[in-house]
């Protein structure tokens, strides 16, 4: 233990430094700059000739006042609800997709490509496509025989956004879980089969525990993405619609109206919110994310 760890930390530093350089350049700097912005105000006053007074002024916590406001809280609630619902559905659907994609049969390549199509369609285009499907005299109402105004502010808009988002991102979970499935040796299944375990038992006792690390990574990243979602509701339903305004949508709306101070303050608040959720997630389930899986693999064998 004396010599090697030291040698390994040099190797580790070498292997990690490219990543750190990239992250410092494109994230660390803009992130700190944006956070700093949340304490300043600019461009909000005019001089006698009608010109905007230049320069920025320290504003303390004034930009954070809106965090307690009705609009922010509504957006926070929407974001949380959206995240819980979409990620929940995506996990179920994604695991189902992975199981389907894993089965060996003719035409598997085509099915795999087919399942991944939704994720491959650019968000802007898919948003437009769903808007088209959900418009007042669109194909959704034609198929369902309804006259629902999906893109007007209201509960139906929430459903439209969830359907469109799950369509686009469930394949992401599916693909990551599929990769996780590949790491389970077939011998484990065979042994379980010999011992007479049913398909359901095999899924619950072997597949799920062994695929859990991959699934958790997928869920963690989906959580963080869902908490930051804005483009889909923005394109599909529109900006400033109360029923689907998310935190990132609110931030985007403030930033496009050149309110960088409040936008940055809300961004920092969202950052803190996501950090807490990610921390709790990793703390609660971190044993699976951060530890070696072989112990559990042995366990699975014993169960089988």
């Amino acid at each position: 233990m004396t010599g090697r760890p030291r040698g390994q930390s040099w190797l580790a530093a070498a292997m990690l430094s490219p990543t750190m350089i990239v992250l410092a350049l494109v994230v660390f700097y803009p992130l700190v700059a944006a956070m700093r912005e949340s304490f300043y105000t600019s461009g909000q006053t005019l001089d006698a000739d009608g010109f905007v007074v230049e320069g920025e002024r320290f504003a303390g916590l004034a930009n954070y006042a809106g965090v307690a406001g009705e609009r922010f809280l509504n957006a926070a609630l929407n974001t949380t609800l959206f995240t819980v619902v979409t990620v929940g559905v995506e996990v179920v659907l994604g695991v189902a997709m992975a199981l389907v994609m894993q089965r060996a049969f003719r035409g598997r390549a085509i099915l795999r490509a087919g399942i991944l199509i939704p994720w491959a369609v650019p968000t802007a285009v898919s948003g437009l496509m769903w808007k088209w499907i959900f418009q007042a005299d669109g194909v959704a109402n034609a198929l369902l025989g309804t006259e629902i105004l999906w893109t007007a502010d209201g509960p139906w808009a929430k459903l439209a956004v969830v359907v469109a988002d799950v369509w686009k991102t469930a394949p992401f979970v599916g693909l990551l879980v599929l990769a996780g499935l590949q790491i389970i040796p077939s011998e484990v299944y065979e042994a379980a089969k010999v011992d007479g375990a049913s398909a359901r038992q095999r899924f619950r006792r072997i597949t799920l525990p062994l695929v859990k690390p991959a699934l958790l990574v997928a869920v963690l990243f989906r959580l963080m993405d869902a908490l930051r979602v804005f483009d889909l509701p923005y394109v599909l339903v529109g900006p400033r619609k109360h029923s689907v305004e998310t935190l990132s949508g609110l931030i985007w709306d403030e930033a496009t109206r050149v309110h960088y101070g409040p936008a940055s303050a809300y961004g920092t608040a969202l950052f803190a919110y996501i950090a807490v959720i990610a921390f709790v997630f990793v703390k609660l389930l971190g044993a699976d994310l951060l530890s070696d899986v072989r112990a559990r693999r042995k366990e699975a064998r014993d169960v089988g």
Binding site: F28, Y29, T151, P239
Partner: protein, 416 residues
């Protein structure tokens, strides 16, 4: 060795952060008064016809050629790009095409320069959209206002007032299955601001009076809001109109689902198409929009040309603006594109009137039209208007409450 690299890296990170806290780039401010090649930045609409004008300029000015840079199609994206260029003091665009309602914001932030150009050839209301505090900052190029599209097979004389329109609908609609009376753009976006301010102006009022005070709790604004609220409640306006932008409503009108539709002039050609896409071809005409007690007043739309404050070749840029908006070029443009231009002579040109029969009605509409409120913080103003107007059309709030809230919201935004 590696420790030093890591320390250097950390130092780099720290210095980058330090960069952020002091404002860099002090030099570029002000641009330059020179001559030379320029870039024209605009949305892609009417790109081919615009390119023809640019080609004509380039042929005449080989040393001061203009290059066209295209922006995304969506107006919000264009605005974001232009503001970002201004914030980085980039001289990417020498001449920029801006929406008429952005003039005050761009001028007040010193992102565009004052222009000393002759504006006598344009329709007067369009020139007003290019002014900020009585100085010209943007040259009118495209314009437009709301027109009332109606069915000539069902309506003899287009209505002059809302009451007339309702009366005609009561007569016609019982015999027409699946047809509603009137539609406009009532989704929550800029179009709602346009339609709402049009209704207020048509009721004889103003959203903002001459001294810059909001007037939405006045008689006219309340009557206008009541007209919209009642329209939706009574079914005179179809409920799906709260999802209409220009195109959704145009398609509904062309499918025979609307007797009257408020839209810009561009819808005329599409409505008259005989390839089967329009069921109302040959049965459609346009008229000025109706009002409360008499003919209504539309809202002015349009796009103006401005010279970026960060341009290095401002003299060329100003010449280019004058060239593009010259009567000769605008007439040539009008011959190839149905986008209405601001040049007055175009509207009295017999050849053009033959091609676009709606021009006289459009001219009448533009001369009567009202600009949207001029505000440095127009983005906030329009958001506030949309908030209250959407509550009115969806029936979420009673008219009085919505207008009182709007009055309160607009007050601080319009402070000089």
């Amino acid at each position: 060795m590696r420790t030093r690299q890591i320390t250097a890296l950390l130092a780099l990170g720290a210095s980058l952060v330090a960069c952020g806290s002091s404002d860099p780039e002090p030099a570029a401010q002000g641009g330059g008064d020179g001559r030379g090649p320029i870039t024209f930045v605009g949305g892609k609409f009417e790109a081919e016809s615009v390119q023809k004008i640019v080609d004509a300029w380039n042929a005449a000015h080989p040393d001061e050629k203009a290059t066209v840079v295209l922006l995304p199609e969506a107006a919000d994206e264009q605005r974001r790009k232009l503001i970002q260029s201004a914030q980085t003091k980039s001289d990417t665009g020498d001449v920029i095409l801006i929406d008429a309602v952005w003039t005050s914001e761009f001028a007040a932030n010193r992102w565009i320069d004052e222009l000393k150009l002759d504006t006598s050839a344009f329709l007067p209301p369009t020139v007003e959209t290019g002014r900020y505090r009585d100085k010209l900052y943007a040259m009118p190029m495209f314009t437009g206002t709301g027109l009332l599209y109606y069915r000539t097979d069902l309506v003899k004389e287009p209505p002059k007032t809302w009451a007339e329109m309702r009366r005609i609908c009561d007569e016609v609609l019982p015999k027409q299955k699946g047809m509603a009376c009137y539609g406009g753009q009532f989704d929550k976006y800029e179009g709602l601001t346009v339609n709402f301010s049009e209704a207020v102006a048509s009721a004889g009022g103003d959203l903002v009076d001459a001294s810059g005070q909001p007037q939405v709790t006045g008689e006219a604004a309340k009557k206008a809001a009541q007209f919209l609220a009642d329209g939706f409640k009574s079914g005179m306006m179809p409920k799906e109109a709260i999802t209409y932008k220009e195109e959704e409503g145009r398609v509904a009108f062309q499918d025979g689902k609307l007797l009257f539709y408020r839209n810009w002039a561009y819808g005329y050609e599409a409505a008259q198409k005989t390839d089967g896409s329009s069921k109302v071809a040959g049965k459609t005409d346009v008229a000025p929009i109706p009002g409360l007690d008499g003919p209504g007043a539309g809202t002015l739309g349009g796009n103006n040309l401005a010279v970026s404050a960060f341009s290095k070749n401002k003299r060329t840029a100003a010449d280019f603006v004058a060239f593009m908006t010259s009567t000769a070029q605008m007439r040539a443009f009008a011959l190839t594109s149905s986008m209405p231009v601001a040049t007055a002579a175009v509207y009295d040109d017999p050849e053009l009137i033959k091609k676009y029969p709606y021009l006289p009605a459009l001219k009448e509409g533009i001369l009567a039209a009202e600009p949207r409120p001029k505000a440095v913080r127009y983005g906030d103003v329009t958001a506030a208007i949309q908030e209250s107007a959407y509550a009115v059309v969806t029936g979420a709030k009673p008219v009085d409450q919505a207008m009182t809230e709007l009055q309160a919201a607009l007050g601080p935004l319009l402070q000089p």
